[in-house]
Amino acid sequence: MSDSSDHSALVFGLTQEISSVDPHEDTDAATRSVLFNVFEGLVKPTTDGEVEPAVAQDYTVSDDMTEYTFTLRDGITFHDGNPVTAEDVKYSLERSAGIDGDQSALSAISDISTPDDSTVVITLSAPDSEFIYNLTTAILEEANDAQQADNPIGTGPFKLTEFEEGQYLTLEKYDGYWNKDLDYIDEVQVKFVADADEAFMELQSGSIDCLQYLTKDQISSVGDDYNIITTTMMLVHGLFLNNDYEPLQNKEVRQALNYAVDRDAINEMFADGKGMIVQTHGYPRITAWYNKDTEGTYTYDPDKAKELLADAGYADGFDLEITVPSNFTQHVTTAEMIAENLKAVGINATINSVDWNTWLSETYQNRNYQATVIGFDISSLSPATWYKRYYSTSDNDMTNFASTEYDSLYDQAQQTTDNDTKKDLYGQMQQILTDDAASVFIQDPGDFIALNKRFTGLKTYPVSALDFSSVQYAN
């Protein structure tokens, strides 16, 4: 298959279907990772979890962190060749905020002014030093307003040329892309495949050039035509506990669970030990905010777990139902391993496997569960969005975790404009999540990506992004 001068399209296999190409619609990680190539915000994520100017050439932030001033990149154009104007930026931010409603991160904007064609001034209703992370919001062309959902026009390295629902999506190199330093492939076809096994067969037969989330068995049988890229999935993967379920209201019980689960074995099973073990809700690859001191708090120690259970008055264990979405086989396997670990310390763990939509509405939204295995990805680089998840009155506090100390640290962090102080506050919060054993945090799972040797490159990001502009032809 690997013809040395073959410059045909890169076929990327995606085991999830993309159902919408409107970048302002709130969607799943897979959609975001593909649209990353087509659209850009004023700023865009970097490989280390920060942001760098994209549609904007540079920006300044006022000392009180309420006024962000952007100068647009000189000569930057949309995929149809029209220049990007300050009005387009204003339009895009307002459109996105309008779709997401009052809970949108962009609702903190009190005013957007456009003093000239290439300057945008964003004023916030309250100081926010993390606001820049929200400005990865896609900039769209205002003139194309009526067709944004069908045929959106962006500024990214690739333009969207074809979208066949349920089948594939084609991306073509945009020759007018502002970053002339980049040299990359001409065409990408993102192909939607029904399931992971089918996708792997297509990889082996050569219909697919690139596939992510391979298992360690698969990489050993994939053959010589592929290079394997090892990275992590950028998830906080764990056994999340409903802190309102009676036995789990007790901190010692939750700690016991933390001692009972064999994290290394799960990491080994998942990806040959290539994952990064965590003990808090944190992303080790984004070093700017991660509290490394939490690591190593709980070791695998079934005896200690039994002791803690006995202290808490659960010497004879208790019933624990682990709900798991059945479409993620790795989550199901993890749940099975955890159930064995818990049985070993006397907890009667059972597994309830449900379909994804049931999980979303019953477990996630209604919090009608005892424990669940899942992985949380990040949709925004702003740490405030990650840690809101444990704020006692938050809509998405699915674990029902409640700590007044945590809440007050969170509030302080939101009022701080100094990033060092902020890091310290977020670090303390991560420590509380560990010490109070909010859940059993396990790992950022390892991930294997196979890439046909016709190609080289492919950078990985700590956010949902498949950067095809980092891929070149091998010959």
Binding site: E25, T27, E202, N357, T358, S361, Q365, F376
Partner: protein
């Protein structure tokens, strides 16, 4: 004519009942189209807004009424999952693929199973019959999806005569599409061939015992003359019914085979829309399946009359 009207009325009643059942079932199972679309990070307000937009905030009975009123005007609404597509558009793009697959499977079934069935009957009790019997018994037991996986592996990965997942849509490259659908059609056809062969063989053998066969022989006809001139036509009647049900089954969407071979047909559309709780698409798909089954039953009745003029429906 009276029979025809009766059939139409029963089709309408069936459609109404089925659509109401699907609707109710969908409102009972957990899961929510808006949440499904927006995912974990969606704000409750955004989910609420989308539910309103979809009309999911209204009671089931009101929603069913609205849906029915639109459907009667031929408007099946917009898909939730594919937000910019109407249900009719989606179905129109998937239907040709499934029809093509069904036609190809049908041709393979008929071409292969009729001669084999006759051969088996002709040599009943002797070795060709025994061999055909054993082979079809085995093939009948293999489910299509498993066959699909084996075919993909052998022809796609080992022999490489078939491009796994290399589906091209029929309006782009009809020939390429037919070439791709050949192996899936074989996977659909094989177990059915085995069944049709057995069916035809038994049907021929039971016809052979009838009086008219003895008469035919006494008039000096040869074995072949009796078999093809007299028995075949009569033996075909039950086989037609069976083949027609097979066609209905494939047209209704070979869910599993479409899934295994990544064919974007009606079956895959139904699976995706169920998992996305995309009920406008599910409703329309279920109606389509119901219609196919009822209409094919009707066609079978007509074919019966053609094959045997004694059968008349009042």
């Amino acid at each position: 004519m009276k029979y025809f009207i009766k059939k139409i009325i029963s089709l309408i009643i069936t459609l109404l009942v089925i659509s109401l059942l699907t609707f109710t079932a969908f409102s009972i199972i957990p899961g929510d189209a808006a949440l499904s679309k927006l995912g974990v990070d969606a704000s409750p307000t955004a989910v609420e807004n989308l539910r309103k937009e979809y009309g999911l905030d209204k009671p089931v009975i009101v929603r069913y009424g609205d849906w029915l009123a639109d459907a009667l005007h031929g408007d099946f609404g917009q898909s939730f999952k594919y937000s910019n597509k109407s249900v009719s558009e989606l179905m129109a793009s998937r239907l040709p693929v499934t029809v093509l697959l069904a036609v190809m499977s049908l041709i393979i079934i008929v071409v292969v199973s009729l001669p084999l069935g006759m051969l088996s009957a002709r040599f009943s009790g002797r070795w060709p019959d025994t061999v055909i019997n054993i082979v079809s018994q085995v093939l009948m037991a293999i489910p299509s999806f498993f066959l699909g996986i084996i075919i993909t592996y052998v022809f796609g990965i080992v022999l490489r005569v078939f491009q796994t997942g290399g589906f091209v849509s029929p309006d782009k490259d009809l020939q390429g599409c037919i070439r791709y659908l050949f192996f899936p059609a074989v996977a659909v056809a094989i177990p059915k061939i085995a069944m049709v062969v057995k069916y035809l063989r038994n049907s021929v053998l039971s016809e052979m015992k009838k009086d008219y066969v003895r008469t035919a022989y006494s008039k000096g006809n040869s074995d072949n003359q009796v078999l093809y001139g007299h028995v075949f036509r009569n033996a075909l009647i039950p086989v037609i019914t069976f083949v027609a049900m097979v066609v209905a089954e494939i047209l209704a969407g070979s869910l599993v085979v479409e899934q295994v071979f990544s064919i974007p047909g009606m079956g895959r559309l139904l699976i995706t829309s169920i998992s996305a709780r995309d009920y406008p698409v599910v409703q329309a798909s279920v109606l389509y399946i119901t219609t196919i089954v009822v209409v094919i039953n009707f066609i079978v009745d007509v074919l019966y009359q053609l094959a045997d003029p004694r059968i008349r429906y009042a």
